[in-house]
């Protein structure tokens, strides 16, 4: 039984290490910034999730002291990874992509990077009338 628990934890650790390495290697290998955005935000987050699952299993099953700190870190990381990825994409669009190269938004307002906020029509944003 002890062996099975250790094997399970080791399995999660190895999976996490491989995902983390793949995520960081994608940062080096992929060619475009927008492609590069995929590797760390997805693969590395899953890698950290695997490490945290392994840590939770270790402390719950072997040390017999169940704690929910890991769950807090996991939830926090999985909530904040998309937000920071969105911000990085916005930064890239603002610095390297012209407004004319972007596709149409199919709405009265343009891309958020180049257009004013819809909630402040006095800022010379597009008006509906």
């Amino acid at each position: 039984m002890e062996f099975l628990i250790e094997a399970l934890i080791a399995f999660f650790l190895v999976i996490a290490g491989v995902f983390g390495l793949v995520g960081s290697f994608g940062l080096v290998k992929l060619e475009d910034t927008m492609q590069r955005l995929h590797a760390p935000t997805k693969a590395t987050t899953v890698g950290v999730g695997g490490v945290l699952i392994a840590s939770m299993l270790y402390f719950a099953l072997i040390k017999e002291s169940l704690s929910f700190h890991e769950l807090l870190i996991t939830i926090f990381l999985f909530l904040t990874a998309p937000v920071s990825a969105h911000f990085i994409a916005k930064t890239y669009i603002q610095s390297r992509v012209r407004e004319k190269e972007l596709p149409e938004t199919q709405s009265p307002y343009g891309w958020a990077v180049y257009d004013d906020s819809p909630s402040h029509p006095e800022d010379d944003g597009p008006q509906d009338d």
Partner: protein, 89 residues
């Protein structure tokens, strides 16, 4: 077995940190550097948790939680600074 698995994971994440450093030095745009710094923060969180498993103490959770929060806030602050030239308008 557990020690070997932990060491393997530490090795993987440490190599990941080296890849991230290369991207920070090389990165053609600011977005690449911010992305590499964000990934570095995530890798450091993983390394802290792995060190906690290796030493079998629960002291390092607070540290990793703090690193996670500071990393997110600094990523958003850096992005806002590049986007708007100001962090809090």
């Amino acid at each position: 077995m557990l020690t070997f698995a932990t060491l393997f994971a530490v090795f993987c994440f440490a190599f990941g940190l080296l890849f991230n450093l290369w991207r920070i030095a090389r990165g053609p745009s600011n977005a690449d550097r911010i992305l590499a710094l964000d990934t570095m923060v995530i890798n450091v969180i993983a390394l802290l948790v792995l060190y906690g498993i290796y030493e079998s103490t629960a002291v390092y959770y607070e540290a990793s939680m703090l690193v996670a929060m500071v990393g997110f806030v600094s990523t958003v602050a850096y992005c806002r600074f590049v986007l708007r030239g100001d962090i809090i308008e």
